[in-house]
Every structure is written in C-alpha cells, then in structure tokens.
Amino acid sequence: MTDTTYRKAVIQALADELAADETVFLIGEDIAAAGGVFKTTEALVDRFGAKRVLDTPISEQAIIGTAIGAAASGLRPVAEIMFADFAGVCFDQIANQLAKYRYMTNGQVNLPVTIRLINGAGSGFGAQHSQAVENWFLNVAGLKICVPATPADAYGLLRAAIRDPDPVLVFEHKGLLGIQGPLSENGGAPDIGVAEIIRPGRDATVVVTQLMRQRTLDAADALASDGVELEVIDLRTLVPFDARTVGESVQRTSRLVCVQECQNFGSWGASVAAHVLEQQFDYLDGPPHLIGGDETPIPFAQNLEEAWIPSADRITTEIRRVLAE
C-alpha cells in the first residue's frame, strides 16, 4: 500500500464517510472555502458542496450545539474545533450537553456526533494554541476519546468515530499532520478502544500516545543498545481504555511507564497508573512512572517549548533510571 500523510488520511476518511452516508456533514470555522487552517478538509467543499461542508462564524458553542441538535434529529455531524484549546469556549456544550443528554433522557436521543480537535505542542503556537487537552474530558462520562498517532490510525479511527452511534472526540496532533505512513496497517482499520503493541519487549511496558509515540520508539532504540527491551503500547483510544492490552503487558514486563504530552497530575497517565496499581499490583517490580510536561502553561520560545515536551533523550534517561532502581 502506498504511503500517505496523516493530513491526507484525515481528508480521505472525511471524504469516504461523506460519500458513504448522506446524513454526514462537516461544520466548523474555515473548513470549507479555506479547506481548514491545517488543510485537513481541503477541497471537500468542491466535491460535496456547501450544503454538506459548512463554514461557520467564530462561534464554538454554536458549532457544537448545532451538531448536537442535528444529531438528535437524525444527522451525523462532524464538527471541527480548529485548535483543541478552543474547546474551553464550548466546554459546556461538550461536557454538560453532549455527554449527558442521552443519559438524562434515558436514551431518548442518539448523538452520533464526532468532534475533531487539532491538538498539541511543538509548533510554536504559544500557550493558548498548543495544549493537548484530552485530559479535560477524561472525567466526563459519555464521551469516547481517540488520539491517533499514525496516518492509518487517523484514517481508521476517524471513520469509526463518524460511524459510531455515540459522541466521539478525535484529537488530531498538529505536529503529526505531515508524517507519512500507509493508510492501512495490519490488515485493517483499528476499532475504537483497542490499543496496539507497536514494539514488543520484556523489560518495561511504556504506554504512549501521539507525539510521544515516535520519541519513545527512539528512546527504545537507544535503550536496546544497552540490552534493555521496552514494550511500547500506543493507546490510540483513551476512552474506552484498553485495560486488557496494558494489563497483560505489565504482567509480562512487571514495569509501567506512561509518556505523555501534558502535566502528570490529573492526566490520562495517572489514571492508567492507578488502574494498573489496582489490578496488577502483585506483578509490579516497582512503582509506575509518569513522564510528562512541566506544570506550567506551554511556553513560546523554541528552546523553552522543546524543554517542556518530553524529548527522546529525556525519555531514555528517565526510563534507564527507573529500571535501575
């Protein structure tokens, strides 16, 4: 299969679902005429028309609320939040309305809403356009959360999200949009809620997402030269959490490390660590370890921002230290 980019994989997934289902429509800021600020909806309006690919005012509450109301009326909306940080503007619509509406009404409405949010640091956008904000939504029942790291996962998880009968947040990492890879790996599209062991190893289970995937694989290469074999798991979906894949891996390796692009307190890594402590305590040779960003907003200057994000060197050093304890 020929390689494509993460960005093109997103466009392809949207195009394939628009073509497959008349009830699918896209809504967001500058997604139609401009093709998206990150060009992740490029030319879709030309192919599918202004009825189905809609530019909106800068009104995140209206974008998400419109998606909710349309879904409750039988459509399958795909809303874009241009920078994931802007989810703060419509947090009520996502956390109080979208997530709770079905439950409060005892299942009287179905809400097949997909929200695409462009996530992540490393591109010099400053504190308000760089945060990986998926952790904001971990404590809200009723949302599925996907965090694809490869073109194949971006394609497969986005299609699965659009077809899913319930709300799904799909975080697309802006630092990964240009990476290349095949559109389909391992013979098929990933299901929501299924993690992938991307490198098998015996000495430690290292759980990653998105930008931390490649950096951790680089660290694993460096540690392999010391004879240390990491088992690296890309979660791909945070909610529902694939406890089985992670748990079985920890049973084999007896160590857990989570590498994440966020501060550790209140993070998905902390939740994974707590889960493993509860379920796999007897298998562990030491406490779980979290490698994350500093407890500061993300700074702008390139050296400061790079220092904030866990680097391959830092991941290598910390894991080496943890395994020596």
Binding site: F25, K51, T56, P57, S59, Q61, A62, I63, I64, G65, T66, A67, I68, G69, A70, A71, A72, S73, G74, L75, P77, D92, Q93, N96, Q97, Y101, R102, Y103, M104, T105, N106, G107, Q108, V109, N110, A141, G142, P165, D166
Partner: protein, 326 residues
C-alpha cells in the same frame, strides 16, 4: 393574524382545550409545590404558574414534526407539547415510569415522542441545540420548525448571541421564544440588562422580532403562527418576546422578597386563565361549561398523581443504562 381573528379561527372546542391545558399546567405545578412540602420531590424545582399562556399558545400553533426545546422551568411546555401528566409527575418524583426513567428529574423533562427534544438546565445552553434541530430539518428538506423557549436571563449569555447569529446567517426555520418574566433568578431585568425591550436584540442579527403580551394565549398563538409561517416559507428565524410573570419565586427556596410590593398582585389581575375565560364568555361559552373544564382538569391531575405515586422507584441496575447506545 390578530388575536381576534385567532379567536374566531378556533372553534369552541379548541378554545376549551386551551383552557384545559392551562388549568392542567397550573394544577400540576401546584401539586408539585405540595409534593415538595411533603418530601416527595427532591432537589429543586422551578414553577411556571402565571406563565401558562406562553407554552400553551405557542405549542397550540405547532404541527406534527415540529420540535421544541425548553428550560428547567419547563413543566408547562412539557405538558403543552402533549407529554402525559402521570409520567411527568413520575419523573419529578424519580419513579421508574417517569419520562426519563428517573434519570432526568424536574429540570430535564423530555418526551421526544411528542416532539419535546429536551429541557435543559444550563441557562442558554439549549439555544444552539435548537439551532441544530432547525438545521437538520432544512438539511432533510422538511418544512417543520424548531421552537426554542428560554427566559429573559438567557439573553445575556454568549450562547444566545451565537445562536441567533448563526440562525440568522443561515436563515434557519427556528422561532426563539423569550419568556420575559422580568426576573433572571433573583435579579430584576433592569439591573442586569441595558435594553428594556429584549426584542430589540433581534435587530443586531437582522432578524424578525416581535413583542407581545405573553398572558394572552390567543395573541401568543397568533404571533407563533405568524413566526412559524415565516420560518416555513424559508424566510428565517423570529425572536418572539412574550411578556409574562412568574407568580412564585425562582425556585422552591426563593420566597421572591425582592419583588416590589403590589407587583405580583397587579400581574395576578392579568391571570392568563381568567383572561381566556373572559374571551370564552365573549364567545358565548357559559360559566358552567368553563367550570366543568376546570373540574375535569382537577380530576385528571389528581388521578395522574395517584398513578405516579403508585409506580416503583427505578431498578438500581438502571443507573448504568443510557450513557451510550452500545
């Protein structure tokens, strides 16, 4: 259409049905108040006594396929949309047979089967959702409309402005019904809002705006019919400001002491139920006929309440159901 024309357009039976609905809503709300005092209802509740004509007038102008969304002060709209009295009581009491199986409560009454898409309890949050319901109707080529009830307080929250703007720019088939009862929770509207006529805010969005007496059920109905016709013709949304008054406080713990002396009494002189009875009198309907409607409403409400009380609490296992559809 003027209110007089609306009266004449409706036959006696239809007028008596509006009277029945308003009686049932008021009796329902009075019963809810008693249930609180008896400890049979938990949490809070927000009564719409005095505002019955808004829900009944607007909903009476709706057609099958139209949908409504409303607020936590939504018992009246729920009943006016046609939700059953017994299952509405049951939801407020947290019973298994409640509209939402006991998961929603007083502030989230929902009956999608009758077109009530939901009651929402974050001020203003349902306006964008109502816009989405209107969008879907046009997307699917239907000529139905979305009706969104909200209070005066919601006109100061961001979602209101985002929603009116988007609905106007896309000319969506939606009617924004602002129930101006003069108080946002405990605060008088003139202390929180620099414009007296909330309908003036429609002009910011180049939107059709109308302001009417919300205690005149036939006038409300006529304004709603005109707004729906405008929406169905593809002409876009209307902001309909209806002036009314809640006779009780904001919620059960609020005695409403912030209201100037005499204000409540003056509004009670404009009781929407009494005013419809006056109209019926003009229409040649005698007093015993109207009294019979009230008696029959009392019986219906009392019987519904007894049924609701007889229903069980939800099964404990039901709390895990409904988060997701899979």
């Amino acid at each position: 259409m003027t209110a007089t024309e609306a009266t004449s357009a409706l036959g006696t039976d239809a007028l008596l049905d509006l009277l029945r609905q308003m009686h049932e809503i008021r009796l329902f709300e009075e019963a809810v108040q008693r249930l609180f005092a008896q400890g049979l209802v938990r949490g809070s509740t927000h009564l719409c006594i005095g505002q019955e004509a808004v829900s009944v007038g607007v909903c009476s102008a709706m057609r099958p396929g139209d949908v409504a969304t409303c607020t936590y002060r939504g018992h009246g709209t729920t009943l006016a949309m046609g939700a059953p009295l017994d299952r509405s009581f049951a939801e407020i009491m947290g019973r298994a047979n409640g509209l939402c199986g006991g998961k929603g409560g007083s502030m989230h009454l929902t009956d999608v089967g009758v077109g009530l898409l939901g009651s929402f309890a974050i001020v203003g949050a349902h306006l964008p959702i109502a816009v989405g319901a209107a969008f879907a109707r046009r997307y699917k080529g239907e000529d139905s409309v979305s009706v969104c009830f909200f209070g005066d307080g919601a006109t100061n929250i961001g979602a209101f402005h985002e929603s009116l703007n988007l609905a106007a720019i896309w000319k969506l088939p939606i009617v924004f019904v602002c129930e101006n009862n003069l108080y946002g929770e405990y605060s008088r509207i003139d202390l929180t809002t620099p414009v007296e006529r909330l309908v003036d805010r429609a002009s910011s969005y180049a939107m059709r705006g109308r302001r009417a007496d919300g205690n005149d059920v036939l006038g409300v109905r006529a304004e709603a019919q005109a707004a729906f016709a405008h929406a169905r013709a593809g002409e876009g949304p209307t902001l309909l400001e209806l002036l009314t008054y809640r006779w009780s406080g904001h919620s059960r713990t609020d005695p409403g002491t912030y209201r100037p002396e005499g204000e409540l009494e003056a509004w009670k002189e404009r009781d929407p139920i009494a005013r419809l009875r006056d109209k019926l009198d003009d229409h040649g309907v005698d007093e015993p006929t109207c009294d019979a409607v009230r008696v029959s409403a009392e019986r219906a409400v009392a019987e519904a309440l007894e049924r609701a009380k007889s229903w069980p609490e939800p099964e404990l296992s039901s709390r895990f159901e409904g988060v997701r559809s899979d």
